[in-house]
Amino acid sequence: MKDRDKENLNELLEKLFDGEQARNYIEDARKVEQILRQYPAPEPDDMLIANIKAEVVMRLPVRRAHLARRKLYEVAAVAAVVVLAAFAAVRLFDEPGPGRHVYSASLIPKAIWESQDLAADDENLAVFQTEIQQIEEEMLALESDDNSSESDTAITELEMELIENSSDFWKG
């Protein structure tokens, strides 16, 4: 209604029609509006209005559910954007750029650090590794049932060695 009131019909008509036509237009419009007011359309009855309002109320939960679902989608979309932005930012700031280098020094020589054969690279480690292997082998031999006679022999040898040592001790 506001726009219609603001509309300058005379000015608008004068742009498109000549003076006489514009005047006729205004006169016809005025007359028809008068006729339309003289013959008003019937009003919607109160029962119809009440039914419409009731139907609107019935449909509101559907609209609310739709709104809630839409809000949820919006929140999910925003969350997804935030996660993507964070991921992109981390990638951007974490990756050293072409002009950035990270300098580091290692306490262990690079050749040893990268080698798969530690024993070959360090003499002490080689000795230590050999001893470990011997102990492992002895343990396996003692634990094995098949080698019970051998273990008995070993125990006997140990006992004899002990007696011998004891005798030497008492002899001075």
Binding site: D3, L12, L16, Y25, I35, Y39, P42, E55, V56, R59
Partner: protein, 178 residues
């Protein structure tokens, strides 16, 4: 006027939030004008009742898509679409009737429907205008929209809208005064 516009804006926000009272206020504000628009286009009370109900149901469904601007323009655009859908379905029904019972039977049905209601002189003369012209005049009168808004709604140049309206007003005046 400013206060009324603020009130309307508040009511529309309430509608968007799903407030039943705000929808009821919109129904109270526009039911009469929209009913008049439908009645003058269809000439039938029952059809106007149905179309008015459909309009407000659509309003509930579509209020989220209203993004400001003239609310009347937006509402009457929906009303116009509903009327055109009604015309199309009426055409389909008529074709079906003609196919099954012949033209005579279809005309009898239309006549019987019209006879059931008291129709005023204006309604009789409006029938003598073509549907598009009739709608243009009713849109201008009941929606209270400017010609600029009506032209925009109908997706046609304002000059076309004004020329069509001029012919329609002239003819309707002649019919009513003749």
């Amino acid at each position: 006027m400013k206060m009324a516009n603020d009130d309307l804006a508040r009511i529309i926000i309430g509608c968007k939030d799903g407030d039943a009272k705000c929808f009821a206020a919109i129904v109270d504000m526009y039911a009469s004008r929209c009913y008049g628009y439908f009645y003058r286009l269809t000439g039938n009370n029952d059809t106007s009742d149905e179309l008015l109900s459909e309009l407000f149901v659509k309003l509930v469904e579509k209020i989220g898509s209203y993004k400001g601007g003239s609310f009347e323009s937006w509402l009457f655009k929906i009303a116009s679409n509903i009327f055109h859908d009604h015309l199309r379905s009426k055409q389909r029904r008529k074709k079906l009737l003609e196919a099954h019972h012949g033209q005579l039977e279809a005309e009898k049905t239309e006549q019987a429907r019209s006879d059931g209601e008291q129709v005023d002189k204006l309604q009789i003369q409006l029938r003598r205008l073509d549907a598009d012209t009739r709608e243009l005049v009713m849109l201008r009168f009941y929606s209270q929209l400017s010609f600029k808004e009506i032209a925009k709604m109908r997706s046609e140049p304002i000059g076309t809208t004004l020329a069509k309206t001029h012919r329609a007003l002239k003819k309707l005046r002649e019919l009513m005064e003749g």
